[in-house]
């Protein structure tokens, strides 16, 4: 715990590393992960640094690795195994060799891919051609017949849907009566000289069909005829097509007929523009058949080649896949090293690298061990020299040794701000206060147990879940599992105090009240002899609230009064703790000014106003208002503490007789108020004035040669401060360098106003504990009565089932999830604002310790 209160002591080291050992040293340091390097080349941009070329090499290798990974993932269907990477394997790998190897590998893979691509393209071409031929057969079978009429050749479409085209007679050169239109043309792709109609056949991708059709229509002014065949229509097509469609996307076979050569060249251009693949479609059936035969032969040959290539490729890729993660890790590590090396300064005269950085004092020995290890490994002649820089100018980073339990709470604290070096850390207090404040708002045995259960499951499965990547919500819960556990346990505890389990009061120890026929009011079990007098029980309920209160008419106001007072007590206590902690900070940093002119008046102000209120609460609780002596005395009445508090400020010396809690209350109150009032200017004025005085004095001192010894003394106290803690003395130094009284004064004014007003508003803010707790218990009561009890009273099994399900859903969803979230946020706020603003992170200059390390 001690190590958590203040951050680890850090020392600033300067390492002089021989050039040949630099790399090894960085490897060892990163492995150890306790050294934070400072940037000694801040003025240089990334590419001007010494190892920019190496970083670039790593970048390039990472790019190659990404490329290979992509290829491997694409090629191999089986999941790659995440193999474990050993340090030995990493060390035996040489970066330069790896770089060369990766370069070759990339070349090979690219070559392999292009070869593969060519093969596949060939396969596609052959397959498409074959399919086209089969589809072509269909074209010609369905071809319209031509009849010659006076007006020209009419193509009679066999299918009435197809529009018929009129071709002027002059263009028709044949004289046969009727003939197959397509039969006339002696075509191929080139031979259109003798025909009326030329045609092209090919494949077009599905999404291009419409634009293609449109532009054909425009260019030919409606004279080109496009016929599309969806491949489903070609029943004779063999199965290869299925495969093709998967690989190359949906395509259609088309054939376009057109008159004239000029239009033909245009259409050819259009086809090119749409990157359509055109194929030769002979018109004669025999030719088609022969071509198809040869294509099929070719296709089969190709298949064998493809299969063998495929297996070769898979082999190659599997080999790559085996080592890929090792390579990736290696390159990542090397990149870390080079980035670290880029932070070093090179001393040309001595051929050494100079590294500057922070290390926790505890780890100093380990660090030296690792340096000598590195030196041994690299066979260096001279050892690495470590120099401890005694009085560093910059503030050390903040570093805590955390475990899986404390880290959650530290994170909660640091979300507000990173603590300054060696500043008092609120985290150890938070470990207890946070779940407790949460539990005050969430007090319910049942809900608390559910929450504990969830946390327990998460903790139980810690090892299983730890390494995995979880969904964001689960991850948040998992990270905060120990906090949730504590919150749940504390909620069970407060639940016992409130005596609530899912909204039901438990009668664990037998209620000490009973109702009699004699009176509408209850009386204590053991003092019910005279039922009419309604005496309270002599022996009270041992722990928590008597269950009778949950049914009593004044139960709610009783609970409210209790919870309100509890909130004030908890709040004022926590704020006083905050103020006391500010004393420990001030005394640690040897700042007498802050003790006497900030801490003392703050403490006095707080305890004289709200501390007094807490005192009153306790006195009121401890007084037996039912004692016979009190009952007989008309002045002995429980006073309204709100009025007493208001009276403290309005008329402190005058307390009404029946509102007095103790003798001389008026006089004591007057004194308290006086102290509180005095402490306001006490907080405000002395600190800035003393600072001003010191500043003036130091100026005079510097101006006067004879008073040199005094200056030395001052310097020595300053350096003393340095050793103790950099932050504060740094602040002082800065102030001394440029002291602006106005600014300091305004700063102090703001602080004072904030504290004085804050004392009121923060105390009021703690009342949220009561409000949330009230809301929680009322909600659970409402769900219980309106949903569960009402449906049970219907006495219908289905209704009860539905009612129970609804109630369970509401309990889990609204009470356990939403309410817990809101209680969590309120507890968070109370810690960040009300508690921490009393002492924590007032300078806001903390920075975290980020050691150079291989771990992500």
């Amino acid at each position: 715990m001690g190590s958590l209160c203040r951050s680890q002591e850090m020392i600033k080291l300067r390492l002089f590393v021989e050039k040949s050992v630099a790399h090894e040293t960085m490897v060892e340091l990163a492995e150890l992960g306790v050294f934070q390097l400072n940037d000694l080349n801040e003025e240089k941009s990334t590419f001007q640094r010494t190892f920019a070329a190496d970083v670039r090499l790593c970048d390039e290798m990472q790019r190659r690795l990404r490329f290979l990974e992509e290829q491997v993932d694409f090629q191999l269907e089986e999941q790659r195994l995440e193999d474990t990477i050993t340090v030995e394997a990493l060390q035996s790998l040489q970066l330069e060799e790896l770089a060369r190897y990766l370069c070759d590998l990339e070349g090979n893979v690219t070559e392999m891919n292009s070869h593969w691509g060519a093969l596949k393209a060939e396969e596609r071409k052959v397959a498409e051609h074959a399919i086209l031929l089969q589809a072509g057969a269909k074209f010609f079978e369905d071809a319209p017949k031509v009849s010659l009429s006076e007006y020209g050749t009419t193509i009679m479409s066999p299918d009435p849907e197809h529009r018929s085209i009129n071709i002027p007679r002059s263009s028709a050169k044949n004289d046969e009566e009727t003939t197959s239109l397509l039969g006339v043309s002696k075509t191929g792709r080139d031979g259109m000289e003798e025909s009326i109609l030329g045609y092209y056949a090919g494949f077009i991708s599905f999404e291009n069909i419409h634009p293609f059709e449109r532009i054909l229509f425009r260019v030919s002014r409606g004279n080109a005829y496009l016929r599309l065949v969806s491949l489903d229509e070609i029943s004779s097509v063999n199965i290869r097509f299925e495969k093709m469609e998967n690989e190359w996307g949906r395509k259609r076979v088309f054939i376009v007929f057109f008159p004239g050569v000029a239009l033909g060249t245009k259409i050819l251009k259009i086809c090119e523009a749409f990157s359509v693949s055109l194929y030769n479609l002979p018109e004669g059936e025999v030719e088609r058949y022969r071509l198809l035969q040869s294509l099929e032969q070719e296709f089969n040959d190709l298949q064998t080649v493809i299969a063998s290539t495929q297996s070769q490729r898979e082999e190659a890729f599997r080999e790559i896949a085996l080592q890929l993660s090792l390579w990736k890790e290696k390159v990542r590590r090397e990149k870390t090293i080079f980035h670290a090396l880029n932070l070093l300064n090179y001393d040309t005269s001595n051929n050494v690298y100079i590294a500057d950085g922070w290390c926790p004092l505890d780890e100093y020995g380990n660090l030296q061990d690792c340096l000598s290890r590195a030196q041994k490994r690299a066979h260096a002649q001279s050892p690495t020299v470590v120099e401890v820089i005694k009085y560093p100018k910059d503030t050390p980073p903040t570093f805590y040794k955390l475990n899986k339990f404390t880290i959650v709470f530290q994170n909660v604290v640091e979300s507000y701000g990173v603590p300054c070096y060696q500043e008092l850390n609120p985290a150890p207090f938070t470990i207890v206060t946070f779940p407790f404040l949460f539990a005050i708002m969430f007090g319910d045995i049942g809900h608390g147990m559910l929450m504990t259960l969830v946390a327990a499951i998460l903790i139980f499965k810690e090892k299983q879940l730890g390494g995995r990547k979880l969904n964001e919500l689960v991850q948040t819960c998992f990270d905060g599992r120990y906090m949730i556990l504590l919150m749940g346990l504390f909620s069970v505890y407060t639940g016992f105090i409130y005596n609530e389990c899912f909204g039901v009061s438990l009668n664990l120890f037998q209620t000490r009240w009973k109702f009699t026929d004699a009176s509408s009011l209850a009386c204590g079990v053991d003092s019910c002899a005279d039922a009419l007098s309604n005496k309270p029980p002599l022996d009270i309920y041992p722990f928590g609230f008597d269950p009778v209160w949950s049914r009593a008419q004044n139960g709610l106001s009783f609970l409210n009064s209790y919870k309100m007072k509890l909130s004030i007590i908890v709040g004022v206590t926590q704020m006083l703790l905050g103020i006391v902690l500010s004393y420990f900070n001030a005394s640690f940093f040897r700042s007498g000014l802050d003790i006497w002119y900030v801490f003392v008046p703050q403490l006095l102000f707080m305890s004289c106003t709200f501390g007094y209120l807490v005192l009153l609460i306790f006195i009121k609780w401890l007084t037996n208002w039912n004692a016979p002596s009190c009952l007989s005395d008309s002045r002995c009445r429980p006073p309204d503490l709100k009025n007493t508090l208001i009276g403290l400020f309005m008329t402190p010396y005058k307390v009404a007789e029946d509102a007095k809690l103790f003798p001389f209350q008026g006089e004591i109150q007057s004194v308290l108020l006086l102290i509180a009032i005095v402490s306001v200017p006490w907080m405000l004025l002395p600190k800035p004035l003393i600072l001003l005085y010191r500043h003036r004095k130091s100026k005079i001192v510097i101006g006067n040669e004879e008073q040199r010894p005094l200056l030395d003394k001052e310097l020595s106290t300053q350096t003393n401060n340095h050793v103790q803690g950099g932050t504060h003395s740094d602040m002082n130094k800065k102030e001394e360098e440029s002291f602006d009284f106005g600014e300091v004064m305004i700063h102090q004014l703001i602080h004072t106003i904030e504290f004085v007003l804050g004392a009121v508003s923060n105390t009021a803010s703690y009342l949220r504990l009561w409000a949330l707790s009230l809301a929680h218990s009322e909600l659970s009561l409402v769900f219980l009565e309106k949903v569960l009890y009402n449906t049970i009273s219907l006495e219908h099994p289905i209704a009860i089932m539905i009612g129970f399900l609804l109630w369970a859903f509401l309990t889990i969803g609204v009470l356990c999830l939403m309410e817990s979230l809101s209680a969590f946020l309120h507890a968070l706020r109370l810690h960040w604002v009300e508690f921490q603003n009393k002492f924590y992170n007032l300078q806001g200059e903390g920075r975290k310790f980020i050691p150079m390390s291989f771990s992500i």
Binding site: S45, T46, F47, Q48, A52, V55, R56, D59, E60, R63, R66, F67, E106, P211, R214, I215, R218, V219, K266, K269, I270, E272, A273, F274
Partner: protein, 351 residues
């Protein structure tokens, strides 16, 4: 009144996209970045530096060796994907506004392709040079046309440029001069149309966009005048190319259409405050032409769009600024690869 309408209603449809664009804007390179870039020794250094910026996504997987054009190309890929993302998220009238922004690229692409075909260049090669933002259907089939009439009937009729082309259909054939005239006519029609559209949007958009478009029109008028000095273009023909909007209309355009040499153009411009300043600026700073000062003023205008909220000008501003940034990167990269150290500082700092 319209401002209030913007205030209340703008975010309903366009708030998210405006936020996106403001986010994109904050990723523009700063002057520090530019200073670092100019210090680079090789293009690999440039990549290393750009890896720390928004461009890392598009550049990091690019195999070495790099060339200046590859870098610029990859940077525009980023611009295009950003723009298309915005476009796909938008609703009308913003979608229409964004479409309008792409028309100039369409015009440029069209002219590039037609000129290329005229010189019998390979269409695939030309298509690569085209700006993706201005792609239109049937772009690839442009090589089949040989007359303006065919161009209109077969290609443009489907594109949003069709209405702008009406005047050009009457040209006989596609010669280089004609193409240049077609470009100017298209641009003129586009500017006028866009101006009308922005006016119809009203509110802050109208105020900001109209100022920008007027400047754009003025700039075109001046450039047309300067380029046509000493050419065979007649006075009427020249005047015909002038957009009918802008601060130079009508008096300035009338005078400009009569201008015979650079001096007379300058004397016309002297009477306009803005152009006097720009002229002054270009003469004062060595190595800067009037066009450079126009560009810098355009950057100023584009930056200014971000100073107000709830209007569409930011989309225009962002596009222009990103474009300028890519031009800057290209310039710096070219200077580095050609070892032309002296001119490397001639980029336009944006932020």
């Amino acid at each position: 009144m319209e401002d209030i309408r913007d205030l209340i209603g703008f975010n309903v449809d366009d708030g998210y996209i405006e936020a996106l664009v403001r986010g994109y804007k904050s990723s523009l390179l700063s002057s520090v970045d530019y200073v670092n870039l100019t210090q680079c020794e090789t293009l690999e250094d440039v990549r290393m530096h750009l890896n720390g910026t928004e461009y890392s996504v598009v550049l990091q997987d690019e195999p070495s060796p790099l060339t200046a054009s590859i870098i610029a190309e990859k940077c525009s890929v980023k611009l295009v994907s950003d723009f298309q993302y915005i476009r796909s998220q938008s609703t009308n009238p913003l979608t229409k506004f964004l479409d309008y922004l792409t028309y100039p690229y369409m015009i440029d692409n069209l002219v590039l392709l037609v000129t290329g075909t005229l010189h019998e260049r390979d269409i695939g090669e030309l298509l690569e040079k085209c700006n993706t933002l201005g792609s239109f259907p049937a772009m690839s089939t442009l090589s089949i046309v040989s007359t303006p009439e065919e161009l209109y009937r077969e290609i443009l009729v489907d594109t949003p440029l069709a209405p702008y082309f009406a005047e050009c259909v009457s040209f006989d054939d596609l010669t280089e001069t004609n193409i240049e005239i077609i470009r100017n006519i298209l641009y003129k029609a586009y500017l006028e149309d866009f101006y009308q559209f922005c006016c119809s949007l009203g509110g802050t958009t109208e105020k900001i966009m109209c100022e920008i478009l007027q400047f754009e029109a003025d700039r075109r008028i001046i450039n047309i005048t300067l380029n046509s000095l000493g050419s065979k273009l007649s006075r009427e023909a020249r005047e015909n190319l002038y957009p009918s909007i802008g601060s130079l209309v009508p008096e300035g355009t009338l005078k400009l259409s009569r201008a015979e040499d650079v001096q007379s153009v300058n004397s016309v411009l002297e009477s306009y405050d803005l152009f006097r300043r720009l002229l002054q600026y270009s003469t004062d700073s060595p190595g800067k032409s009037l066009e450079d000062s126009f560009i810098e003023y355009e950057v100023q205008l584009s930056k200014k769009t971000f100073e107000q909220q709830f209007h569409y000008g930011v989309f225009y501003g962002f596009l222009k600024l990103r474009e300028q940034e890519i031009r800057n990167i290209l310039w710096i990269c070219e200077c580095i690869s050609q070892r032309h150290r002296t001119g490397i500082g001639n980029y336009v700092t944006i932020f």
